[in-house]
């Protein structure tokens, strides 16, 4: 019905224009009317099933109505992009009969939207790119059943059981293979404070993963050492990028020689550009914040009216099938016990990752303040 109203409205609103064209002497009217008709045809031509309210996924076969889905319909706010997690949500519907309507966006903007919506939120679940986004809205989440939480190592879930990690990414150094070999690279992040690296480093201070890494540094190294590291890095004039993707692109182009990023972005470039893309990941061998493993995770909103289905969705994403998808398709670390990461990744256990409880990574505010004080953030 709404669609019909829209179309009617659209036609009515074009009325005055057509009235204008009556005055016309140059036969422009025909062109204009043709344009309007074409536009209307295009805008309505795809038929009622593709109206805005018609459902989340046009790629799938014609969507069954909500009533046809035995599992019901869930609203998901996803800070992870459709290209990465859209396919697994489609599989979910095929396998479990749970339908999803997804609002795609950036993790931070969706988190702020959830904060603004509060208890009135239409969302059932929030799928976030980083622990920061999940932490910001944790008070809006409902605790997850213990059997779901138990599938994932303690390190990768909320200590209060309100959200759970689904996949992991490791902090790595991406380097240009034309300029450097692994032997040229230091064994830990401290090594990049050497003046020899001046102007050769790319980083992304506004990026949530980078900030989480700094939070880890504050926790492991202490406030003063972290400040000293940041200041020494600043003295090396690193080039600040907007996110991980532009850093990997810049390293590939030779704009900078190394970049501090999450591991999985490189694989997108290798898939697009082929193996000749002159950049590779380097896992820092010394244990420390430089090889932190971070999670993308999910939580169920307290305000959800269909929590059972929402829990079932989380459970599905932690199933061996879905976890294998993350390992193979997005090149991330599967977090559920028993699923192995892609063969060319250093296994989680060998990553020398620091054993840091997630609660230690919660103080984003302190990190942002420190980054401001050291001039890393404006």
């Amino acid at each position: 019905m709404r669609l019909i109203n829209q179309i009617m409205f659209f036609n009515i609103t074009t009325g005055p224009w057509e009235a204008c064209t009556l005055m016309d002497r140059y036969g422009r009217r025909r062109i204009f009317v043709a344009l309007v008709i074409t536009l209307t045809l295009i805008t309505t031509g795809c038929g009622p099933q593709s109206g805005p309210a018609a459902g989340p996924d046009p790629q799938a076969e014609p969507q069954p109505g909500v009533g046809d889905l035995p599992g019901g319909m869930l609203t998901v706010y996803s800070g992870r992009s459709e290209s990465l997690v859209g396919p697994i949500l489609q599989r979910l519907t095929q396998d479990t009969g749970i339908g999803t309507g997804v609002r795609w966006g950036s993790t931070s903007e969706l988190a702020v939207t959830l904060l603004e919506e509060g208890k009135r939120s239409p969302a059932d679940l929030f799928f976030a790119q980083d622990p920061g986004g999940l932490g910001a809205v944790a008070h809006l989440f409902t605790p997850l059943p213990q059997e779901i939480l138990d599938r994932v190592d303690q390190r990768f879930r909320d200590p209060n059981g309100r959200w759970v990690g689904l996949s992991g990414r490791a902090r790595v150094v991406v380097y240009n293979t034309n300029a450097l070999t692994e032997a040229d690279l230091p064994t830990s992040l401290e090594g990049f404070t050497d003046p020899a690296w001046r102007g050769r480093i790319g980083w992304a201070p506004t990026n949530a993963s980078f900030q989480t890494m700094v939070t880890a540094m504050r926790s492991v190294w202490g406030e003063d050492v972290t400040r000293a590291w940041l200041e020494a890095m600043q003295a090396n004039e690193p080039i600040g990028y907007d996110g991980n993707t532009p850093i990997v692109a810049a390293v590939g182009a030779g704009e900078v020689e190394v970049g501090l990023v999450n591991h999985y972005y490189l694989y997108r470039f290798l898939a697009e550009e082929g193996d000749s893309f002159p950049a590779r990941n380097y896992f820092l061998p010394d244990a420390g914040p430089g090889s932190l493993v971070m999670v993308a995770g999910i939580g169920v909103l307290e305000s959800s009216t269909n929590k059972e289905a929402a829990f079932a969705l989380v459970e599905y994403l932690l199933s061996a099938d879905a976890q294998t998808y993350f390992a193979e398709q997005t090149n991330e670390y599967p977090l559920a016990a028993g699923v192995e990461p892609a063969a060319d990744l250093t296994p989680l256990a060998e990553l020398n990752a620091i054993d840091l409880p997630l609660t230690e990574l919660a103080d984003l505010e302190g990190t942002v303040t420190l980054l401001r004080e050291t001039g890393v953030l404006p």
């Binding site: 309210a53 990997v248 953030l377």
Partner: protein
């Protein structure tokens, strides 16, 4: 137009000062004021939201606002807005003159092409610019074998932000100035010539003053666009106020500090609006009867046509051909993988639907405001017009959050539906409609309307039969402008659109943000193509 033809001779050059239309009766006043106030009320909603959120701010926010860095960032924003506006005046005004008033070879083609960069979203344009002009970008790659340049000077920071914003926003000046040139009465310039002025004198003393309202309105849009842009400044790493606001949301999920910072941006906007109002004084009195009149004689460029052509080619090359070529290269790779036409069609359809509705609704909403401020000038109506610009300086995410706040509380049944999304577009883009319509309305002599009235017609009939037909180029230009910018709007679409409402812009963003460049090419090219069709139509229509 036949019925007003005889009046053309009587249509004077300027309306004498002090001549006002008869006072509106209460009822007629209501017809204009009520919708105008409603629309303005919707547009200032975000301000209320910001005040509510900012009032919750604690000491941290005060410290954030008062640190010296804030002044620096404010200076960055102002400097960028000023520089981009000046450059856009030169580019937009110059191109409008070249393509409308000279015998530039291929001017119809240039007219279409030069307006098209407006169709390129800033997050795509800036990305491609950085990819091409970066220290080790495409241009360097081309130059290296020729002259051995291994590294271009960095374009990051001010130069890149300035360049990309100028290239993407000068059409805001170009379009209204073109519309104004088409409306202009050639008799004025001919009289000036006959009084012994040379070409430059005519340009300076007759043409430019008549173009002032359009230049100011367009310049204001450019300045506001530069203030609010996020895509280009973040990709090219120049910290403006808008970027600082986003960082508050991004890093700290801190709505109060972000609101406080946004209010500073609002204050800056108010200053800009007041400045434009001052500059506008004296420019409001030019009217002409150009509609249906003779086209003016074309200026012969002579040998100057070569530099003019080079400027056009360079501009179109950097702002349009370069992005299209890179996108085409990506598309080729996407075709290898097998294109996803269903999604592309659906997002195209959604984009057209949303943008078409937004254009129609916004232009209609703008009419009462424009008529009031242009035809019944008073301090009140002028400020109504000014207030309608507020939304344009606000980052999309702020407007979206304001509607989340009010929408869920006031109209939950509308929340995240198409009508609410259209309302967001209206708030964001209303100034584009008022800014383009107002100069067009001013150029229509009041005497024509008065004559209509004196012939016993009701004001609405006069408006319909006299004003609207003359206003049509302005109406269409403003609708086109709103259409184009809605096509590429991202933030409000993501947060307020119906669930699963994919548009071309969201598809592009989704692909680019995860480095699926090939997937971005299809929607981006369709976006540019779709926007070029109405553009081509206007140009062909205006330049027979």
């Amino acid at each position: 137009m036949a019925e007003i033809g005889p009046l053309e001779a009587a249509g004077g050059l300027t309306a004498p000062r002090g001549l006002r239309l008869p006072r509106l009766s209460g009822q007629r006043l209501l017809v204009l004021w009520l919708p105008a106030l409603l629309v303005t009320g919707a547009v200032v909603l975000p301000i209320f939201y910001l005040v509510i959120r900012a009032s919750e701010a604690g000491t941290g926010t005060r410290a954030l606002l008062l640190r010296p860095q804030t002044a620096l960032i404010l200076g960055n924003s102002i400097g960028l807005a000023l520089a981009v506006t000046l450059a856009s005046w030169l580019l937009g005004g110059g191109l409008a003159l070249l393509t409308v008033r000279t015998d530039l070879p291929g001017r119809r083609l240039w007219a279409i092409l030069s307006a098209l960069p407006l169709a390129v979203p800033s997050y795509v344009g800036a990305y491609l610019l950085a990819a091409a002009l970066g220290p080790r970008g495409l241009v360097q790659e081309l130059l290296e074998p020729l002259v051995g340049v291994t590294r271009l000077p960095s374009i990051y920071g001010f130069p890149g932000a300035f360049l990309s914003l100028t290239l993407l926003s000068y059409p805001y000046v170009l379009l209204p100035v073109r519309a104004a040139l088409h409306r202009m009465d050639p008799a004025l310039e001919e009289s000036a010539r006959s009084l012994g002025h040379n070409g430059w004198g005519v340009l300076r003393r007759v043409t430019l003053p008549q173009l002032m309202p359009a230049m100011l309105a367009g310049g204001l849009l450019v300045a506001l666009y530069s203030l609010r842009d996020f895509g280009a400044v973040s990709l090219l790493r120049f910290t403006t106020f808008t970027r600082a606001i986003y960082l508050q949301y991004q890093s700290a999920f801190d709505r109060s500090s972000a609101a406080a910072l946004s209010l500073v941006l609002v204050a800056l906007t108010v200053v800009l609006l007041a400045l434009e109002l001052r500059g506008r004084r004296g420019g409001d009195h030019y009217a002409s009867t150009g509609a249906g009149g003779r086209p003016p004689a074309l200026i012969r460029l002579g040998p100057w046509r070569w530099p003019a052509l080079i400027v056009c080619a360079l501009l179109v090359g950097v702002a349009l051909v370069l992005p299209t070529v890179v996108l085409g290269y990506w598309l080729l790779r996407a075709l290898e993988a097998g294109p996803d036409l269903t999604t592309l069609l659906l997002s195209t359809r959604n984009s057209l639907l949303a943008s078409g509705l937004a254009a129609a609704v916004t232009v209609i909403a703008a009419l009462p405001i424009v008529v009031l401020s242009a035809r019944y000038p008073s301090n009140r109506s002028r400020w109504l017009d000014r207030l309608s610009h507020i939304g344009f300086a606000l980052p999309g995410v702020v407007v979206a959050l304001a509607l989340v706040f009010f929408g869920l509380r006031g109209a939950p049944w509308l929340y995240q539906t198409l009508p609410m999304l259209i309302l967001a577009y209206l708030i964001l883009f209303l100034p584009q409609a008022t800014g383009t319509l107002r100069p067009s309305l001013i150029q229509i002599p009041r005497q024509l309307e008065e004559s209509g009235r004196s012939l016993g017609q009701r004001p609405l009939t006069v408006f319909r039969r006299v004003t609207l037909p003359l206003l049509r180029p302005g109406l269409l230009a403003s609708a086109a402008l709103v259409f184009l910018t809605t096509m590429k709007e991202l933030q409000a679409t993501l947060l307020l659109g119906p669930l699963g409402f994919r548009t071309l812009a969201t598809e592009i963003w989704s692909a680019v943000s995860e480095a699926f460049f090939a997937e971005a090419a299809g929607p981006a090219l369709v976006l540019i193509l779709t926007c070029s069709l109405p553009m081509a139509y206007f140009v062909l229509r205006d330049q027979p």
